[in-house]
């Protein structure tokens, strides 16, 4: 859903880069960007105020995006996915995207395993956070910085 919203924001990063012939030009569109504080508030809402713990969840992302318009991520949660103990939802938050809530996946024991993958757009260099909410109400988090760079000057 947020991808669609982003799509309406006009110029893509690619178009902007093509429009400039230089080593690159950091002319980002003037989006209203969310802040890490707003993202933290959104996460508090997701977890019902519980502070997510580290562990059990892994977030796979590139360190540097090859293309900010299409950044693949994968989230996996270590869970038996039984009635008694399973992952209820996985949330991916891009702290400084105009719409930070990139994706929400709802799961049930019928999923068998808690693994999801998708692509997102990243407006700029920022930290991406993945939250898993478990059936007992506890939450786990993993995070990583992804650089969206001008590129060039390659060694």
């Amino acid at each position: 859903m947020s991808d669609r919203a982003l799509g309406r924001a006009g110029l893509t990063r690619r178009q902007i880069l093509i429009g400039t012939a230089g080593i690159g030009l950091m002319a980002m569109p003037r989006w209203v960007q969310a802040t890490p504080a707003e993202a933290a508030a959104a996460i508090a809402k997701i977890t019902g105020g519980a502070k997510p713990a580290a562990g059990r969840i892994t977030l796979r992302l590139p360190q540097i995006a090859e293309n900010g318009n299409s950044v693949q991520f994968a989230v996996a949660v270590d869970s038996p996915m039984s009635e008694a103990d399973h992952v209820k939802s996985i949330h991916v938050i891009a702290e400084e995207n105009p719409f930070p809530q990139v994706a929400t996946f709802y799961l049930s024991p019928a999923n068998g395993k808690a693994e999801v993958t998708m692509r997102m757009r990243l407006a700029k260099t920022q930290t991406v956070r993945a939250i898993a909410v478990m059936s007992n109400g506890s939450a786990y988090e993993a995070q990583q910085e992804v650089k969206v760079t001008i590129g060039g000057c390659g060694g």
């Binding site: 880069l17 093509i18 400039t20 012939a21 230089g22 080593i23 690159g24 030009l25 950091m26 002319a27 796979r60 590139p62 360190q63 540097i64 995006a65 090859e66 293309n67 693949q72 260099t125 910085e145 650089k147 760079t149 001008i150 590129g151 060039g152 000057c153 390659g154 060694g155």
Partner: protein, 560 residues
């Protein structure tokens, strides 16, 4: 001439674990080919390695950096040592052959004494001799950046190097600049290669499937050796992605762990990572991925006279431009390295007899281009070099050419690590210009940029070089500038390293809101317009006849 004392000094430096037999080889007083080759063999397997040869077929000069800053945990560690600090760290003396090979100290004087380095025919001589000494035990591995960097490689679109490497008998390679010939050409050349092209971290963007082989197995000295290839992780960021639109790269550390585990499961007793990560990223990967015995590093062009142990992993850094051939002998017992010996063999062109077969091949490659390669454009009064974190004198010359030929206020030139050195008094030939500029996206553009945008470029590139986490270091050295100066504090966070940007002419502070005319080259964007950079630099040199380039005053480094 090399004295025995010089030789012993380099011998002491060449490896911490250097065999005593080497010293005896220098008894004759003059260092010869056999002295360079002298090595007390150890164990069952010999790994020979070079990297970043950048298509240099014939001997040249190459000055090591005088500035190579390490940030964070790697500050002051090899390879982030230069000049006297480097000499002190490895117990070497100034004014020696070791100082010539490993540092920029007294470079011009030492270059005149010790002569050129590299040349594929010299390397072939060394390889053949070591293979004869260790039959059935030797693997020759190329860490990449082999097909690009010269006139003949550009004109043959990499094929001259493929032919030469086939003849040399390389067993496996990985890659980076190779990809700048584009998807189709890379596929063609890989098909022609006749040996393993390993790049496990390249996947197709559509289905996330592997594009190239990731592992090759070899039987050497009765040991099953797995070689796993890691291409430069940021090729589509640092170089034009539009040339390889269907391929995605990345560090992919978890993928490397899987390959290592799979290789061990398949019975590998020795696991070698053939890598173009760059030294710091390799060091980090060696700390985090279990089960790699040896990393043959590449990309950052570092020449380190000893192996660098990281836990139980041995890291080799074999320099660039054919200046060195690394030899690592390994004793393997029960799937573990129990002993080793190492030497970074200096390829001193004057001391090594050219291999006739390779010499003929090189001559054949160069013959159709002979007149153009040797065409003299002018002469330099200054030492012209590129390598280093900031502007080298050759970059300053290129920036002056950009400013002059494209009538710009500011010039930007890429911080490539490759490019041969010219001594004061040397002619500047067409070949010399291509040795600094031979890329497949050479358009020298001119465009208007705001001061803010120029700062953003400098900050972006600075973070790619000085990010404290090596997995976030993306490309080459710092972008070179002309027509302007700045102060940089590499220790500051991203976006806050660059201050006091000023125009060189008049010294005015660069206004974020004002627009400036900027000329540059090597844009990664498709459709960039402008004449090829080599024509522009050739015109500039021709117009001046003799160039004089003082050591740069444009960049002031603070905080380190």
């Amino acid at each position: 001439m090399l004295t025995r004392r010089d030789f012993l000094q380099v011998a002491a430096a060449a490896a911490a674990a250097l065999p005593a037999g080497l010293a005896q080889a220098a008894e004759s007083g003059v260092v010869t080919q056999s002295d360079l080759l002298a090595f007390k063999p150890v164990g069952q397997v010999t790994l020979l390695n070079f990297c970043d040869i950048h298509a240099q077929l014939v001997p040249l000069y190459f000055r090591e950096p005088s500035v190579n800053i390490g940030i964070g945990a790697v500050r002051g560690l090899p390879p982030h040592l230069t000049g006297k600090n480097f000499l002190n760290h490895f117990g070497l003396k100034a004014g020696t052959r070791a100082a010539y090979m490993f540092t920029s100290e007294d470079f011009t004087a030492l270059a005149r004494r010790y002569g050129r380095v590299g040349g594929l025919d010299r390397i072939a001589t060394l390889v053949k001799a070591i293979r004869a000494e260790r039959p059935g035990s030797t693997l020759l591995l190329d860490s990449g950046d082999t097909w690009q960097g010269s006139y003949t490689a550009l004109k043959s679109r990499g094929e001259d190097m493929v032919d030469a490497m086939r003849l040399l008998g390389v067993d496996a390679m990985t890659a980076h600049w190779e990809f700048t010939y584009g998807t189709d050409r890379v596929k063609e050349l890989v098909d022609k290669l006749g040996f393993a092209f390993l790049a496990g971290n390249v996947r197709d963007t559509e289905w996330d499937e592997e594009v190239f082989r990731h592992t090759a197995f070899f039987d050497r000295g009765g040991i099953k050796v797995a070689v796993i290839g890691q291409a430069f992780p940021y090729t589509p960021v640092a170089n034009p992605r539009w040339m390889i639109p269907g391929w995605s790269f990345g560090i992919r550390e978890d993928g490397m762990q899987k390959r290592v585990d799979a290789a061990r499961a398949a019975g590998a007793q020795l696991v070698v990572m053939l890598s173009h990560n760059g030294f710091d990223a390799d060091r980090k990967m060696a700390q985090r991925v279990r089960g790699i015995d040896v990393v043959l590093t590449g990309h950052t062009h570092d020449a380190i006279p000893a192996v660098v142990p990281v836990g139980s992993t041995l890291l080799v850094a074999a320099g660039s431009h054919g200046k060195f051939l690394a030899r690592l002998d390994l004793e393997v017992k029960g799937g573990k390295v129990t002993d080793y010996a190492f030497k970074l063999i200096p390829v001193l062109s004057d001391a090594i007899a050219p291999d006739p077969e390779m010499a003929a091949q090189v001559a054949k490659i160069r013959a159709p281009h002979k007149a153009e390669l040797s065409r003299v454009l002018g002469r330099t009064d200054s030492l012209l070099y590129r390598r280093g974190n900031f502007n080298g004198t050759f970059d300053d010359l290129i920036c002056q050419a950009l400013l002059h030929e494209r009538d710009a206020e500011i010039a930007l030139s890429p911080g490539f690590r490759w490019g041969a050195t010219l001594l004061p008094g040397q002619d500047i030939t067409v070949e010399d210009i291509y040795n600094q500029t031979a890329i497949t996206y050479p358009a020298a553009y001119r465009m208007a940029m705001t001061g803010k945008a120029i700062k953003a470029v400098l900050e972006d590139v600075a973070d790619n070089l000085f990010n404290p986490d090596p997995y976030y270091q993306q490309g080459g050295d710092m972008v070179r500038v002309g027509g302007m100066s700045y102060i940089i504090d590499p220790t500051r966070p991203s976006g806050k390293r660059i201050t006091d940007m000023r125009l060189s002419r008049g010294g005015k502070v660069i206004d974020p809101a004002k627009t400036y005319q900027v000329a540059g080259w090597a844009s990664v964007n498709q459709g960039t317009q402008g004449p090829p950079i080599w024509d522009l630099v050739a015109n500039y040199v021709t117009g001046r006849k003799v160039v004089k380039v003082p050591e740069g005053q444009l960049v002031k480094v603070v905080g380190v």
